[in-house]
């Protein structure tokens, strides 16, 4: 049985997109639609999680993910604690399990976890007391499920439905937990075609098993695509043996206005952020009319509100 589901197949944690049905993913998207208007009201708050304490447990740096989780919690009227790991007892050698026990003792209800090790979120979900929900904000190279869901939400908002869509994910697929989650979410939601595009050194072997077609030439890779998702080229890769240089990467795989013309004329350009201007994407494209990058950020709040409410709601219902 999927660790993140209860006996009635409802989400009690949100760890991975893998193994979740189309119905469940659609429920997350529909719930996010209902939270969307909240940000435009005078009082940007609903009382759903009033009295609950959410802890942002970020072992890796983050701006947008952490901030949007914080905003999502606050818009649900929850109390939120941002644990600054570098300044915490972890740097004194406190184990992860001890950190969790300490926070549980303070009656926290939910952990939002980002960690450098793949599987960390599931590990934590196995350790915590039964009434606590765990949300994966990115673990190692494995999954970033809320990013995938907010990207799906963005696609659905613009394109209305997933059938018939050709989606190209461009960049360092090997090191991308976002790519993994997105390939699975896109397949589950029934898009026509998922393509991964990048240099051979940055595409994992047998990624086809996840349902993606491999392209090592960006021009054929994005030809006719309805959605182009650009991934960030990480600093560590730029000077590694896997790539000649950042400049050469841009030459071969950068999304320029010229290249974008090869995609469908109504194609949208997405990026989970932060963007490296001039390395994976041209400023003109990132700031251009087909870019929905800033929309993705706003949608992240509604999607995270939806995920948090769904899992806490299941814990609530389960205790009665």
């Amino acid at each position: 049985m999927n660790q993140q589901l209860d006996e009635q197949n409802r989400l009690k944690h949100f760890l991975t997109v893998e193994g979740l049905s189309r119905t469940l993913l659609t429920e997350v998207l529909d719930t996010a639609e209902r939270f969307s208007p909240v940000g435009e009201r005078a009082v940007k708050n609903v009382p759903l999680l009033r009295g609950k304490t959410v802890v942002n447990l970020f072992f890796e740096p983050s701006t947008r993910t952490r901030t949007t989780f914080e905003l999502a919690a606050k818009r649900l009227s929850a109390d939120i604690i941002n644990l600054n790991i570098a300044a915490s007892a972890t740097s004194k050698g406190e184990s992860l399990t001890d950190t969790l026990r300490t926070l549980e003792a303070m009656q926290c209800d939910m952990f939002v976890v980002r960690h450098q090790n793949s599987g960390a979120a599931a590990f934590i979900a196995n350790q915590v007391a039964p009434h606590i929900s765990v949300i994966n904000a990115g673990d190692g190279r494995y999954q970033h499920p809320t990013q995938a869901m907010l990207d799906m939400f963005t696609i659905r908002r613009v394109k209305r439905h997933f059938d018939g869509l050709v989606v190209a994910i461009v960049g360092d697929i090997t090191h991308s937990r976002v790519a993994r989650s997105e390939i699975q979410a896109l397949s589950t939601l029934g898009v026509a075609e998922v393509r991964v595009v990048g240099p051979k050194t940055l595409i994992p072997n047998r990624i086809e098993a996840l349902g993606a077609q491999v392209f090592t030439d960006i021009e054929t890779g994005i030809a006719g695509a309805d959605v182009v998702i650009m991934l960030r080229l990480q600093q560590e890769r730029m000077n590694s043996p896997l790539l000649p240089s950042a400049q050469e990467y841009f030459q071969s795989y950068g999304l320029t206005e010229q290249r974008l013309k090869l995609a469908d004329k109504d194609a949208i350009v997405m990026h989970p952020g932060p963007i490296n201007r001039g390395i994976e994407i041209d400023s003109a494209v990132a700031d251009g009319p087909q870019s929905v990058i800033l929309h993705q950020v706003v949608h992240g709040i509604a999607v995270r509100m939806a995920v948090m409410s769904l899992v806490i709601g299941v814990h609530a219902a389960g205790t009665n």
Partner: protein, 167 residues
């Protein structure tokens, strides 16, 4: 049970118009509570030829039973396409029972702004109030046992049906 909903709506709209005139409320705007309340609000809105759009409330996020039953599955989000501040609201629901839905609706309205007034209009008022909430305009009053429930079906051919709750 044979209740002529259309006849009730006719009577309610006359009573509501008199109520609005008596209090000299200008520029009123209708807000219905999903789903039945929205249907009723639209009918009354048309009968009174009200020029403002009809607001819709999905009170799922304001219910008092979230910690018992979790997130209530509903479809439509709330939409109040006007500024609530200083407006006279006509809040409409189909059934007034415990009063908790109206409590939630008012809490939600106040998160949009401060209305000048709220007039509560319901199609059916049944016994069983658990909160000090009262309707200003009532279509019909029904005396039902706790195990009996009344439901409005629609949106075309609105009709009320009585059913026994499963125990």
């Amino acid at each position: 049970m044979k209740i002529d909903v259309i006849e009730l709506l006719d009577n309610m709209s006359v009573e509501l118009q008199n109520n609005i005139n008596a209090a000299a409320r200008e520029n009123t705007v209708f807000v219905g509570v999903h789903t039945g309340g929205v249907w009723i609000a639209r009918h009354l809105h048309n009968r009174l030829a009200n020029p403002s759009p009809v607001g819709e409330l999905n009170i799922a996020f304001y219910r008092d039973d979230f910690s018992r039953i979790g997130l209530h599955p509903t479809v439509e989000p709330s939409k109040l396409p006007f500024d609530v501040n200083n407006r006279h609201l006509i809040l409409v629901d189909d059934i007034l029972y415990t009063g908790r839905t109206v409590r939630a609706a008012m809490n939600e309205i106040f998160d949009y702004g401060r209305p000048s007034s709220i007039t509560l209009v319901v199609l059916v008022e049944r016994g069983g109030r658990e909160l000090p909430i009262k309707a200003d305009i009532v279509g019909t009053r029904l005396n039902l046992a706790a195990s009996e429930h009344v439901k409005l079906f629609g949106p075309d051919h609105l009709r009320l049906e009585l059913c026994e709750a499963k125990t």
